[in-house]
Symmetry: C2
Subunit: 248 residues, 2 copies
DNA sequence: CGCAGAATTGATACATCTCAAGCTGGGTGG
DNA sequence: CCACCCAGCTTGAGATGTATCAATTCTGCG
């Protein structure tokens, strides 16, 4: 519950790597100061569960670094990932006492947690947090709807290509590389996690990744490094509009 | 563009049937008054398109009555419904100039539209609208995530049972009937629309509906009226937790 | 009455799942 | 230092659920 002393994390919001993208992005210095009073850091190991669906949840949080997943499991064990949490993404819901989904770290994760009650009060008194949260939630809803198209209508091959391009895009967003020509990145997910994301079995994921590889759409360096020699070629395989993604 | 004079719709927000559930739910009388100045009603026929994805959208709106769908279509014609819009649901996104999805009326629909710019300004100046919109968006995101589980992991039969129970629940919410024992309602969707919702073909929908009918889980009166003799039995077929849906 | 859209039903094809057997690479302990 | 181990991954063969293609049959309505 207490931040690990060894954790190399900014205590000062001004130095925070996600300062301008997270739920606090719009805050003025004085608002930031009040947030600092209710925040604390928590770290998680790969594979560690942050919270189980149904558990009491007394905080909300921003992912500072690492990758976590939001998922849902049926009684018989079938599971579906419903959110991929990357740095700056928000976890939890103000006003809700219990978690609605399982949250799991897939890489080492650091979260900036805010005690829920004070956070809710802060939201009521300062509009900037609520405004930013609305914007982020609307973005997530759009992403969820894209994801629904993927789950409901795309073929296994299109699903894999879509996932790779989504991850590539989000990595590029950070490193600011242009989205054309050659591109490479680390895949933070296991085959099983990819399967849970895409509504497939891990065997089908493996087969389709192999197929894309043998056709030269992607190359693999080790198990996790993905090289995309021609990003446009990968986009062709996603089934999306060629000029797609221009909506603002 | 102009409200049909014949339309039996409250001009006065105080008499509006969705007054306490829509985006305006939290507004004070003076805020309501300012909303009234920028609102106008529009009616749509069944099958009529409200807006195409990519089109310029100069309004946001609340569904007052009827049922509409939000959907996405791929180049080759595959389509996936990504939202089912019932009375009080919100359409459009403040700050976004172009529609991201197709919106279509499936029954006669009346919408309460607000000019986008003035609505955005109103949001900036009065917190109640933004607060309510955040709450509604978070609810929609939760629903979208349930839907992702359905699309990714449920069988055709479970999908049908889930859709029926979702519609039954939303009807009950309005008519305040208890969710147990016998229950009946009108199905506002064609087989094709159901298929688009569920990520299936209309033939598979038809077969599974027939199967549930021949096993006595549901009865059909005419093409649209559905009778559920035992709601618990239907819930069993959804694959969801038996005690499910208690999250707040 | 007769038409058109909606729904049902049938036969077959095929994508993905399931079950099962190996493979690979990195870490560990004898 | 090497044999072993294990999680993650790949590959294969066969089963199966859903899609596809193709007739019919309903149903509401002009």
């Amino acid at each position: 519950m207490v931040p690990a002393a060894s954790n190399p994390v900014a205590k000062d919001c001004a130095d925070c790597p996600i300062r301008h993208r997270a739920v606090c992005a719009r805050c003025e210095p004085d608002e930031l100061h009040r947030l600092e009073e209710i925040k604390y850091y928590r770290s998680f190991e790969p594979g560690q569960t942050v919270i189980w669906s149904g558990d009491r949840m007394d905080f909300v949080a921003s992912v500072v670094s690492g990758v976590a997943t939001l998922s849902q499991t049926m009684e018989d064990g079938r599971t579906q990932m419903v959110g991929l949490l990357l740095p700056s993404d928000f976890v939890g819901r103000p006003g809700r006492e219990r978690a609605a989904f399982d949250v799991k770290a897939v890489t080492p994760v650091v979260m900036c947690c805010f005690r829920r009650r004070p956070f809710e009060e802060l939201m009521a008194s300062t509009p900037h947090i609520g405004q930013r949260l609305l914007e982020m939630t609307l973005d997530e809803l759009d992403a969820a709807r894209e994801w629904m198209l993927l789950l409901g209508r795309k073929t296994a091959r299109e699903k894999i290509a879509s996932l790779l391009s989504i991850i590539a895009r989000r990595e590029a967003q950070v490193s600011a590389g242009p989205m054309r020509g050659r591109f490479e990145f680390d895949l933070p997910l296991t085959r099983e996690a990819m399967a849970d994301y895409l509504g497939l079995t891990l065997e089908t994921v493996s087969r389709q990744v192999s197929a894309l590889k043998s056709e030269g759409v992607i190359q693999l360096e080790g198990k996790r490094r993905v090289v995309v020699p021609d990003f446009a070629r990968l986009l062709d395989e996603t089934g999306d509009d060629s000029d797609g993604g221009f909506l603002v």
